[in-house]
């Protein structure tokens, strides 16, 4: 195979790993709470600012900035649930979408006020590595590995813990949960905190690859929603696999044209998928 195409393919897989985290987080929250966090990419954006600020302005070591980012965004997810989602749990879905959409603009506006619209860069990069005939970005490879570790931890949490098992159960039948001794409200809070932590991890992995600005969410938010819908909303495994498909499409699509063109290909693929399989690629 052409080595440039191979490189695009490898980059697509690496990109897919990073897309997978916000897709998992969004699906987790939707599956449990039954509300779509329209502002999910903006939670990631705030996390990116947190890392940038702590590292370049406050002078923290990078690993400490990363370690702080997770609880910060997790707390943000918790607050989002408590103050925006919980009061609207019984409301029509359109109100929930409008409210979390409002938070999207609120976060963009708040970050613009605090940090203005400048593009902020972390200025860290790892040297590229030569693997066979192709070059792989060290930063992207590290981000990919961290994303896989994050996904594996989430899987273990859902598979082996009591709370994780209850999370998988509540996604199917919330009404019966009190009979199991489960307080659904508490599970919603936990899922929101975990969903926030995943956004925080995604922020750490994106901030080393992208400059931060208040609207950076637009560069991965829409694609995250497409991935979730393609994998079947609420279907964690489907979303995880769809992230890699989307990553490869964006990366290989960009190989023949510009980055903008690669997104056109991705959206076209999405539209075709939704016509062919309206309930998602991996719907059973």
């Amino acid at each position: 195979m052409d080595s440039f195409l191979l490189e695009a393919l490898v980059n697509g897989i690496l990109l897919g790993g990073v897309f997978a985290l916000p897709a998992l987080g969004l699906n987790l929250v939707f599956g449990v709470v039954d509300v779509v966090w329209l502002c999910y990419a903006e939670l990631v954006m705030v996390g990116m600012y947190a890392v940038w600020f702590l590292y370049t302005q406050a002078g923290w070591p990078l690993w400490m900035a990363f370690a702080a980012c997770l609880p910060v965004v997790s707390l943000l997810g918790l607050l989002l649930h408590l103050f925006v989602v919980r009061p609207l749990l019984a409301a029509p879905p359109i109100n929930q979408v409008l409210a979390t959409g409002g938070v999207l603009f609120l976060l963009q506006g708040a970050m613009t006020l605090i940090f203005r619209t400048d593009f902020r860069s972390l200025g860290v990069d790892m040297p590229p590595m030569e693997v066979g005939e192709i070059f792989v970005s060290g930063t992207k490879l590290a981000a990919f590995c961290a994303a896989l570790v994050g996904a594996a931890l989430l899987w273990a949490f859902l598979k082996f813990t009591y709370v994780g098992t209850a999370i998988r159960a509540i996604a199917r039948d919330r009404e019966v949960m009190p009979l199991m001794g489960v307080d659904p409200q508490r599970i919603y809070l936990i899922a929101s905190a975990v969903g926030g932590a995943l956004a925080g991890l995604a922020a750490c992995l994106l901030v080393v690859q992208l400059d931060v600005h208040p609207f950076v969410g637009l560069s991965f938010g829409p694609i995250t929603f497409m991935i979730c819908v393609m994998g079947g909303l609420g279907n964690m495994l489907g979303g995880f696999l769809a992230a890699f498909i989307m990553g490869i499409i964006v990366s290989v699509g960009g190989f023949w044209g510009t980055t903008e063109f690669s997104y056109v290909v991705a959206f076209a693929f999405f539209i075709v998928t939704i016509f062919a399989r309206p309930r998602g690629l991996f719907a059973r």
Binding site: Y162, T165, A169, E175, D183
Partner: protein, 252 residues
Amino acid sequence: MSAALDRGAGTQAAPGGTLELSGIHAGYGDFQALFGIGLRVEPGEAVGVVGPNGAGKTTLLRVISGLIRPTAGSLRFGEQDLAATPAHLLPSLGIAHVPENRRLFPHLTVEENLKVGAFSPAARAHFAERRDRVYDLFPRMKQRRHQLAGTMSGGEQQMCAIGRALMCAPRILLLDEPSAGLAPIVVKQVFDLVRRIREEGLTVLIVEQNVAQVLRVVDRAYVLETGRVAAEGRSAELVADPAIRRSYLGGH
């Protein structure tokens, strides 16, 4: 073998309190389903609730396990005022409810279903031991422990649902139509199962449409009609009652 019912390691099966309802009114929104129900279940008793569709039998169980709040009346289990207790705390008090249509988590394995049933902090510590007791009681569940619950037969699913309820080591087991939707041969198995559970000393309150079968298992029964207790008595008396025979037992 009362081992399956122990509430903790090395303890005797807990004595359990009396379940006592009086003057219970309840419903859904504007629709009232229960009109002043009085009912009493002593520790160790098996009590049936029978009656036609829409009589309020399922609503009655849902009120006891806290899924619906009564609008009037009192609801006590031993010393505990259930009407003032959040529903998710009731399993820790020893009240287990096997809901209508079983409501298993079909995409989880048998063992994962049992694990959700042991969610209460008090139950988690005893998970392995209680799971093994459920497997003793239902060897079929042990064979199928890693199978998805939704892929099992109706009778097996009923076993799994009862097993899941036993994971909180209940003092009283509420069963909602355990025989519904099952083939006649399986219905017989399910009632054998209920008989075994009560022989182990567990208090049972069972709602059934299958009046003939349930009256063979329980000590006493209440007949519910349009949200009111129309009759009550010992099983033998009810079976002998001409009105009951005419309405529910297809006899004369």
